[in-house]
């Protein structure tokens, strides 16, 4: 990944997530993937904390990742870009939910989710096994993987971001 495309990843911002503190540095800086190819993918994690104000309202601030404690909300951002000269089709972004993190949902462009890493779908359609041999409806905390299948083709030079929200267990 070139310096130019890395800058583009930062410039893209997090359009789909409301970040009331835009000046705050990303909790974890994105680093370019080392692999070469016509497509790049980078990821970063932002930590948000809800802070109760003296007037009773709650506001959300971005805290440095080094201060993330259990209960903090995390936004996992996946940024992608076609750095080649030809359009790409059937692009799929996948992200296993990190250990010690519980999936909560996505503010926009909801991903397909999986509770086993094999079958993907809407959360409402998924079921998980119970110890007594039956199944129950899956909840957000059961999600182990998310993926986005990008519609259409990704033109040369085009890129974007997807994100999901989670909470540090």
């Amino acid at each position: 990944m070139t310096t130019r495309s890395l800058a583009a990843v930062f410039a893209a911002g997090v359009a789909c997530i409301a970040m009331p503190a835009p000046a705050a540095e990303p909790a974890t800086a994105a680093r370019p993937a080392t692999s070469e190819g016509p497509l790049t993918v980078t990821t970063r994690m932002m930590v948000e904390r809800r802070v109760a104000a003296s007037d009773g309202s709650t506001r959300t601030t971005v805290v440095p990742a080094a201060r993330a404690v259990p209960g903090d909300r995390i936004t996992v951002v996946v940024a992608y870009r076609n750095t080649g000269s030809a359009a790409l089709g059937n692009v799929v972004l996948a992200n296993p939910v990190p250990r010690n993190v519980a999936y909560r949902g996505a503010a926009a462009e909801a991903p397909e989710v999986s509770v086993d890493g094999k079958t993907y779908g809407a959360l409402a359609d998924l079921r998980v096994a119970t110890p007594d041999g039956g199944t129950r409806a899956a909840g957000a905390a059961d999600v182990t993987h998310v993926r986005w299948r990008l519609p259409g083709t990704l033109a040369a030079g085009q890129g974007g971001e997807r994100a999901f929200q989670a909470v540090l267990k």
């Binding site: 370019p32 993937a33 990821t43 930590v47 404690v69 259990p70």
Partner: protein, 297 residues
């Protein structure tokens, strides 16, 4: 006995890593590419809880009083806690703070571990220990209203969100949680009198010339006043005859009643070395006065 509370919280110092992949199907080929890994070191949240383990009325008798407490590390890391115990006035003194290893709410030097530096050992996240604070009477009248006990994380404390760089487990940042890493409990203490007897001694000198100069031949009258706030099974007052003086035979008195010097039926005896008065069983709120005389040689 340490009690571990089941907690699902991620431990401080844990590295949370994320890697995404992108997959493209192009014609016949499919290729996948991993992203950069991003890692987040989970910070140590410093929190603590402190509570009494009983609600009985505490008073402070002569032998002291034990106040049992329970301290819980409610943070997500291994942490030691500094304990401070402050009485509301100086009529009692803190003898020691110990880990109540057998959890009986009393201090037993054979099993309980005294926190000499007033600091607990490292407690795991969620771990609780029983503590016992021992109070001793420090004044004739116990006037203390409360004992304030405070526990704070050894790493640091302060308003929620106070951060201590690299001070947490695994080199993570330590940051105070909602408790501010400080817990306090006020234990009300009854003002019931302590049973510690108080002995006060006064003297008066009368010289042969009628003055109060302590010259040879002068008579010194000693007055010992013993005040008993609580009852006592067998009290006795002993006092040595001061060097350079001689006991004046027949001068021993208890509550203004003369006692014989011989070790006989009455409560007192006296010889050249000491006087001794056996008071026997003594009720609470009583005062006894012993008087004797010596001459200066």
């Amino acid at each position: 006995m340490p009690v571990n509370t089941a907690r699902a919280e991620t431990r401080a110092g844990t590295l949370v890593t994320n890697v995404a992949t992108v997959t493209v199907r192009e014609g016949e080929g499919t290729y996948s590419l991993p992203s950069n890994p991003v890692a987040m070191l989970v910070a140590e949240r410093l929190d603590v809880a402190l509570a009494r383990t009983d609600d009985v009325a505490i008073d402070v008798p002569a032998e002291g009083a034990a106040i049992p407490l329970r301290l819980t590390n409610t943070g997500n890391g291994r942490e030691a806690f500094e304990i401070a115990a402050r009485p509301s006035d100086a009529s009692v003194a803190v003898r020691l703070i110990a880990i109540d290893a057998d959890g009986d709410g009393r201090f037993d030097p054979a099993v309980d571990r005294v926190l000499t530096d007033r600091r607990t050992p490292l407690l795991d996240a969620g771990e609780a220990v029983r503590l016992v604070v021992l109070l001793d009477p420090a004044a004739e009248r116990i006037t203390v209203a409360a004992l304030s006990v405070e526990a704070r994380a050894a790493t640091g404390s302060g308003p929620a969100g106070t951060a201590f760089a690299k001070a947490g487990d695994g080199g993570a940042t330590a940051v105070t949680g909602s408790t501010g890493a400080l817990a306090a409990v006020a234990v009300p203490i009854g003002v019931r009198a302590a049973a510690v007897p108080v002995l006060s001694k006064s003297q008066s000198v009368r010289a042969p010339d009628g003055s109060s100069r302590p010259v040879t031949g002068a008579v010194v009258t000693y007055r010992l006043e013993a005040r008993f706030a609580g009852s006592s099974a067998a009290a006795r007052i002993d006092d040595p005859i001061p060097a350079g003086t001689a006991y004046l035979p027949g001068s021993l008195m208890l509550d203004a009643v003369p006692l014989t010097d011989a070790a006989d039926d009455d409560a007192g005896r006296a010889d050249g070395r000491a006087i001794s008065v056996a008071l026997g069983p003594v009720g609470g709120f009583t005062t006894h006065t012993v008087q004797f005389q010596v001459t200066i040689r």
